[in-house]
Amino acid sequence: MTFSDMMNIGLMQGFAGLSLFSVLLLMGLGLAIIFGQMGVINMAHGEFMTIGAYTIFAISHLTESFAPHLMGAYFPFAIAVAFVVAFFVGWGVEWAFIRHLYKRPLDTLLATWGLSLGMQQIFRSTFGPKEVSPTLPDWLMGSWSPAEGLDIPLNGLFVMALSVFVTCGVLIALYKSRWGLRVRATVANRTMANATGINTKRTDRLTFAIGCGIAGVAGAAFTTIGSTGPTSGGLYIVDAFLVVTFGGAASLLGTVVSAFGIAQTQSVTEFFMSGSNAKVLTLSAIVVILMLRPQGLFASKVRR
């Protein structure tokens, strides 16, 4: 094992950590917005990700059947569609029941869990119980080799770029747009926000829908990594929640930092011990730290 080999492995391992980080970040971002800004626990978040994934699958299927020459280009378009679909479903869900449950966070938990069960069954009835995979465009396959022995998977790079893009988008929207202003006002003091004329109900709905839309994008990104089945959402939900809780629910920066920390811990420990042990170790570390500092890494300075 030459030195350059070790460097390469180190770099690739570091990249693996970054790759996991961007995955966790995408998952956690939508949830952080919904949970952090609105205090709503959405146990169906994983299913919104699955909506995004199935949307990609459906579009890939359609493109293959009707417009095969567009295969190279459909992916970014499909991601946008995934966002839109998840957005509208989220909008509908919020209108249908979440808005009745704002004062009852534990009940939202149960209701959204029920929703996730229903959504899983809808997926199963529509797409079948077998797992499906979209046909990915060629430019996403394979790896980039800047140096001999150093292979960076292209889809990892794509997911990373996507998460950076989405995170920046969310941050800009939250801090520079009128919507962001309304959201921050509602979070800080709902009554006053209402008094100043902000329609908090619509803001909430929009926020929830955007959070779900981001989940859809996350799901779309995951199709490059794994397959999609009706129960795929359940795989990600606990990790997403831990990322958000660990970071401090009210803080987006917290989500970023916690996703990074968890990803690196998991990656590094995975390299040195078995997969299951690494997972147990990471989870236990998170739980212990949460027990010592339950508000998460970046606690909100606002009295709720």
Binding site: I41, G114, V238
Partner: protein, 394 residues
């Protein structure tokens, strides 16, 4: 009213007696052994639901990880039964006779030290009761002292359920992994799989369940119960009155853990195996729904909830497997949106007043007003909260 009826009303024992009648007399007479065994299994889940009524309905703390304690109790009992079923004579075809079969497949050559205590039944019983309670104490202490409650607590309990599941599956040499511990035959020489054994185990479960209900009702009616309710609704005031809120919460959590562990142990005895699929997040959330459907404030309701949902699961998954998940979803959503106090709430809010009105009308006595007495807080009726005050912590 006769003194007996008065006593029934005061202590809320009426519904308990009705339940006892149903479980002890009606079910054994009407159901065949197969279905009765199923009811026995559902009653084990009812233990967890009871714990949740105390913890969630009264204490205001939602735990989504009760499967952990159910599993700890269940695995403890399973370890004892497995050791008993793995005596050197029965296991002589293994590479290492005398140890459980899954250890053999994983090339373990000797029983790990921490399995040894489970050779003795009294010690097993002790561990089944003490270990989950102790773990609940540690977790509860760490969380409640720091005033972690509500949503955060729920998520952390989920994480703990996940950790335990991954741990059990990963360490399959020690725990049987994803297969769980199967092939459990005898308890202290008594074959648990015979028909008579099933009857006996059923009645033991019923006895333990009714005993637990009586215990919990006693707690509810005592000052402790009132304090729990007060803490649930207005934590700060209780704290300002000088009570250590966190220790009360820890108590409720430990009680729930103890009940779940007992349920787990009885489950292993009745069903004959234990598996990590009963420990994780999904079963833990299902156990919450049993309590929610039955009425999170009502102990007896929790039992009915557990029975109803599980019956539904068995019948619907047989006849309409596709429809079943939709029904479950509807149940979750409906219980939360439509009738948050569950069946018990339906009963006390709608059925009972209607019945009382009819009885009064029949008696044709002047103003047939059933004295709407100020119900003591610790009865099976949910205290009516003024609107705008949420019964949950945010």
């Amino acid at each position: 009213m006769t003194p007996f009826k008065h006593w029934l009303d005061r202590t809320g024992m009426g519904s308990v007696l009705l339940l006892a009648l149903l479980l002890i007399v009606v079910f054994p007479l009407c159901l065949d052994l197969f279905r009765l065994n199923l009811v026995g299994k559902y009653l084990c889940y009812a233990f967890v639901a009871l714990g949740l009524v105390m913890l969630w309905g009264y204490g205001g703390v939602l735990s989504l990880g009760q499967g952990v304690f159910f599993g700890l109790g269940g695995y403890g009992m399973a370890m004892f039964l497995k050791l008993e079923a793995s005596d050197p004579v029965t296991t002589k075809i293994q590479s290492t006779p005398g140890i459980p079969d899954f250890m053999d497949w994983n090339q373990l050559t000797a029983l790990p030290m921490w399995w040894e205590p489970f050779r003795s039944f009294p010690l097993t019983l002790l561990l089944v009761l003490v270990v989950p309670t102790l773990i609940a104490f540690v977790i509860g202490f760490a969380m409640f002292k720091r005033r972690v409650g509500g949503v955060y607590f729920a998520i952390i309990t989920q994480a703990i359920a996940l950790i335990l599941t991954v741990l059990i599956i990963g360490q399959q040499g020690y725990t049987g992994g994803v297969n769980g511990m199967t092939d459990l035959k005898t308890l202290l020489g008594w074959d648990t799989r015979t028909n008579s054994a099933k009857y006996i185990l059923y009645f033991v479960s019923v006895g333990l369940l009714l005993g637990s209900i009586v215990l919990c009702t006693w707690i509810q009616k005592s000052k402790l119960g009132t304090l729990l309710l007060a803490m649930r609704d207005k934590e700060d005031r209780v704290r300002f009155s000088g009570y250590d809120v966190s220790m009360f919460r820890v108590f409720a959590f430990c009680l729930a853990a103890l009940l779940s562990a007992v349920g787990g142990a009885m489950f292993t005895l009745q069903v004959g195996f234990m598996s990590p699929s009963l420990v994780g997040i999904v079963p833990s959330i299902e156990m919450v729904i049993f309590a929610a459907v039955g009425g999170r404030m009502s102990l007896v309701g929790a039992v009915y909830g557990a029975l109803l949902v599980n019956f539904g699961k068995t019948y619907f998954s047989e006849s309409f497997p596709d429809l079943w998940l939709f029904l479950m979803a509807a149940m979750f959503i409906g219980v939360v949106l439509g009738f948050p106090e569950g069946l018990a709430g339906l009963y006390t809010n709608k059925v009972k007043p209607w019945w009382q009105r009819r009885m009064a009308a029949r008696k044709a006595t002047p103003p047939a007003v059933v004295p709407k007495r100020a119900e003591p807080v610790a009865t099976t009726e949910p205290g009516a909260l003024p609107p705008g005050i949420s019964s949950q912590q945010t």
